[in-house]
Amino acid sequence: MKGGTLWRTVRLGVSSLLLHKLRSALTTMGVLFGVSSVIAMLAIGEGASAEAQEQIRLLGSNNIILRSIKPREDFATGSAQTTRVVSYGLTEDDLERIEKTFPGVARVVPVREIYEEVRFGDRAMNPRVMATLPVYREVTNRVVYEGRFLTDQDLERVANVCVIADTVAAYLFPVESPIGQEIKIGADYYTVVGVLMSRVRQQSDSAPAGKSTAEVFIPLETGRKWYGTMQVKMRAGSREMEEVELHEIVVEVADPKNVPFVAEACREMLRRNHKQPDYEDVVPLELLLRAEETKRIFNIVLGSIASISLLVGGIGIMNVMLATVTERTREIGIRRALGAKRRHIVTQFLVETVVLSVGGGLFGVALGLLAPWAVEYFADMRTIITPTAPIVAFAISAGIGVVFGLYPAWRAATMDPVEALRHE
């Protein structure tokens, strides 16, 4: 068919559809909502999974993170009522075992937390104060914003230096540069040598990954020296003594392939050496795999729902087109009498159906692009519109027009001209 002929057929189709504006508009609704929900759901799904993956990747997909957690009361080995000592968590022994005996482990980084207030002048806050090794930054993929991170000399000299997160810097030093300033952690003074980008900042605009982003880092040895394993924690009136050797151990595995085995070894070792469940493990790689599996299932469910809605939309269009063909039986008879071949009639009705479904598809794409924006705005969720989504959705709507238009068009084309002309 020549271009001009097709164009005329499309124009004819549009003008036939415009004879019944409301009916045509209602007919397109099924495809419209089908297409827009496909695009919107894909965007939401993509956004959610991208966010999850980014968070997980920031934790380091080569890493296994072991954390001390306070066991439930009945497990705690405490004594006195008012001031009791709760002792739990990861130990230096655990650290040593992993370091010395586990194959495939590249680096192991211990972290101790210090429960002290951080203060500069009259500004005070309670960030996570972490005593750790200089490799911490590399292992956890953190970025220095200003100055430097802790060094081996800091460690050797047991220096009173600290590195603060940008969120802490912003609060304590709203105007001046924090580098070189002395801040007070508990009773001691520390020189600020660097500012670290907080995870939030590194993650661009997404929400914080659970833990507080206010962090202060000091050399591990400094922490060991000034603050023992026994620390006092103030809790709504009562005081509590906590004895925790290590709060966190970050295990870096050389080859990502070995992450599952090392993770299993860590679990096994901890299970054997701890009488109570006073630790947890976070394996970002496992989370990543789980997130991908979740995304796959999400996509299947979403795809099914979308297919059903598009199928229903297509059936709606087919229904209306069958009615249209019956209604226009006489027109078909006239056209046949004037010399229209079967393929002309097929094309005419097929084009009309495709115009309907593509019209629905176009508005559906428009609505589908607006919806994620609304979701982002009102539900504060991240959405990602991949460029293929609207194209695919649009192609599908055109395909629906063809598939569901074929039967009505065939019905029209195979009518007997004499019978059709007799039709009132």
């Binding site: 036939s16 009498a337 010399g339 071949k341 079967r342």
Partner: protein, 251 residues
């Protein structure tokens, strides 16, 4: 072109039967009908209701096929043609005018006139000019962008006539073309037919009304699907026809 061409019939039917099966019994709408319609002739087909006039016209228009027998248009045996070829034949050689005008409501006057050309495999380049000239001829030059709904019955029928002429058909068929019109309008339409006949067109029209039938050159009466009688008129083939090459209507 020789005189032989002139004598070759435009439409030739040989022992054509069209039967309808209604439950057990068989209705013969056409029953062994044989006749040749010559070039440039103007025929009126008459007969009582149910005598087979419309059936004959539908067969002539190639929208209905005989149950048996042979029908040739311009020497082409329609029995050998498939659906596409038959459709092409309709769009090239036949012009059909209906009682109910049968214009296409969503098209304007110009598009309606051009419709048969759209369906030709190889449409003429001057189709639109032709359509405009025909519209002018039937007195609707100022109404080209009107829709059928905006026209009177007589005007609609004139659009239908222009549409039947646009493909310069070998044969013009009209089934009670004046049946829905008042007598004054009917006379206008008949005057148009007279003109076409004078120019050499071959016209076969079905009518109920004797005074309409009298306008034609020859009258054929049908009864039960057979020719009851034929009354040949005094007027011979118009002179314009001889001046012209075979086939086609000047417009």
């Amino acid at each position: 072109m020789s005189a032989l061409d002139l004598n070759k019939p435009v439409a030739e039917l040989i022992d054509v039967t069209r039967t309808y099966r209604m439950g057990g019994n068989e209705v013969r709408a056409l029953d062994g009908f044989s006749h040749s319609f010559g070039r440039g002739e103007y025929w009126a087909i008459m007969g009582s209701s149910g005598s087979g006039k419309s059936t004959l016209l539908n067969v002539l228009a190639c929208i209905d096929r005989p149950s048996s027998g042979i029908y040739k248009v311009d020497g082409i045996d329609t029995g050998t043609l498939d659906d596409d070829a038959l459709s092409e034949l309709r769009s090239r050689k036949l012009g059909f005018i209906f009682q109910a005008y049968n214009l296409i409501p969503q098209l304007d006057v110009l598009e309606n006139i051009m419709t048969p050309l759209f369906y030709q495999d190889d449409p003429p380049a001057d189709g639109e000019q032709r359509a405009r000239r025909l519209a002018e001829r039937v007195g609707l030059a100022k109404r080209l962008d009107h829709r059928p709904m905006q026209l009177s019955g007589g005007q609609q029928q004139r659009v239908a006539i222009a549409r039947a002429l646009v493909n310069q058909p070998a044969l013009i068929l009209a089934d009670e073309a004046t049946g829905n019109l008042d007598s004054a309008t009917a006379l206008e339409i008949l005057a148009l037919f007279d003109e076409l006949h004078a120019e050499g067109a071959t016209i076969i029209m079905v009518t109920h009304e004797p005074d309409v039938g009298e306008r034609a050159q020859h009258v054929m009466r049908l009864k039960d699907g057979r020719i009851e009688n034929i009354v040949r008129g005094q007027r011979g083939a118009p002179t314009a026809l001889r001046a012209q090459a075979s086939g086609g209507v000047a417009s």
